[in-house]
């Protein structure tokens, strides 16, 4: 089920100091028929340097003013909390995979969640956890290797951290594994169109200046693949939504500095170590010319995929048996008559 929703959220940021380049790249197609759960076959994708990602996140969490880069994660954290509230249930035990500073927990309350486990690979982020009244346990662990037993959690949430995972099918299978039957997974991750303006500007500028280009933005999962992945991991009753957030920046350097401050710098193995100043200058000029808004600011698009998946339980609704229909679609126009007839008969 796909419900694309377009949300435009503009925020004018004060001019700040620029930073070095952040990540770029192409859509990545996940191969169907990957490694079975619990094993790492030689065909496992190894795109990201997880060690470097941990260092980047630790660095970002240690910055003196790290809270000013949190706007995107706080917004998505609150949206995920909304979705959790929409589910009319209480969850005694919940898990946050890739929690950062705990952006989801601060929007939830003790009645909905009994106890919250928060997982992240960066210890500095866990040390600076945001305040919440739910009892939390912080665990330093990788999203791909969850250190929990089967059928442990009623709820697993994940906000904007799965796009750095190397083996996404395996991570989703692990999440499915630690969920109890009739448990639910509510996740959000960046989608294919994220930062396309930055990606295109850098590609064009690098082609014009250097004769070729290398990916600077990491590859994102396509929305079709996401549905397949969730299904393959064993989730039922999937829901995948698309949200777009557009944030306006004064210039390209401010955007790159914000991405670095969020801990979202490029860490793919095939990244180019150096981005020439000429190329940066050219890319900033191209970005401004091609994408600027009327008021002179530059938009950056963040496309978020929200996904909800359930672990199978007998009590869940299942599709009806083939051939068990009692009315045909052809009688849809006379539905009101049929229903009033049934009421009279009862």
């Amino acid at each position: 089920m796909l419900r694309p929703a377009r949300v435009v959220w503009s925020l004018w940021l004060r001019p700040r100091t620029p930073g070095v380049s952040a990540g770029n790249g192409d859509r990545r197609n996940v191969a169907s028929g990957g490694p079975p759960s619990g094993s790492t076959s030689p065909r496992t994708l190894n795109i990201f340097d997880r060690d470097l990602k941990r260092k980047q996140k630790n660095w970002a969490a240690r910055q003196p003013e790290s809270r000013k880069f949190d706007y995107l994660k706080e917004e998505i954290g609150s949206r995920i909390a909304d979705r959790v509230y929409d589910i009319a249930r209480n969850f005694p035990l919940a898990l946050d995979v890739g929690c950062g500073r705990g952006y989801i927990a601060q929007h939830l309350n003790k009645e909905t969640i009994g106890k919250f486990f928060q997982i992240d690979i960066a210890e500095n982020a866990l040390k600076n956890c945001l305040e919440t009244d739910i009892p939390t346990v912080s665990v330093l662990a990788d999203e791909e290797f969850l250190p929990f037993q089967e059928n442990t959690f009623d709820l697993v949430v994940s906000s904007l951290s799965l796009h750095w995972v190397n083996d996404l099918p395996r991570a989703l299978e692990q999440i499915h594994y630690v969920l109890k039957p009739d448990g639910v997974f509510v996740g959000a991750m960046f989608g294919g169109d994220t930062l396309y303006e930055l990606r295109c500007s850098l590609q064009l500028a690098e082609t014009e200046r250097e004769g070729g280009f290398s990916p600077h933005i990491s590859p994102f999962t396509a929305v079709n693949d996401l549905g397949h992945l969730l299904g393959r991991a064993g989730f039922n009753t999937l829901t995948v939504d698309t949200d777009e957030i557009q944030v306006n920046y004064p210039g390209m350097f401010e955007l790159m500095e914000d991405l670095q401050g969020m801990g979202e710098s490029n860490c793919s193995w095939n990244r180019k170590a150096l981005l020439h100043r000429d190329t940066m200058l050219a890319a900033a000029a191209v970005y401004r010319e091609m994408y600027r808004n009327e008021d002179g600011s530059l938009p950056a698009t963040y496309q978020i995929y929200h996904m909800i998946g359930w672990k199978y339980h007998d009590s869940q609704a299942r599709p009806a048996e083939r051939g068990s229909a009692t009315v045909s679609f052809g009688e849809l126009g006379k539905l009101n008559n049929l229903m009033s007839q049934e009421k009279n008969n009862l």
Binding site: P15, T17, P18, G19, V20, W59, L204, A205, T207, E208, R209, E210, G211, P250, G251, F253, E254, D278, M280, L281, A282, A284, A285, V286, Y287, R288, E289, M290
Partner: protein, 82 residues
């Protein structure tokens, strides 16, 4: 990064001045941007140094732009007491 503190600090301070200097070269940047954008139209072919003259103009303007031109101006609002 802590091992290369001096180099990192120098690089960062140079990059920090980029937005201001770029803002001073709006016309050249727009000309370069238009040239590259034109090559993305159907029939255009983007290759190395296609827009080299525009970029040279932009680079020389950028090099000539001095950061902090004009200095800081503080505006104080003085309210007349009734």
């Amino acid at each position: 990064m802590s091992a290369h503190g001096a180099v990192w600090g120098r690089v960062r301070s140079r990059l920090r001045a980029f937005p201001e200097r770029l803002a001073a070269c709006g016309a050249e940047a727009a000309a370069y941007g238009r040239c590259v954008q034109a090559s993305t139209a159907p029939g255009g072919h983007l290759r190395k140094d296609l827009c080299a003259p525009e970029f040279e103009a932009l680079r020389s303007c950028f090099a000539a732009a001095v950061s902090g031109k004009g200095g800081c101006v503080m505006v104080l609002e003085v309210q007349e007491s009734p």
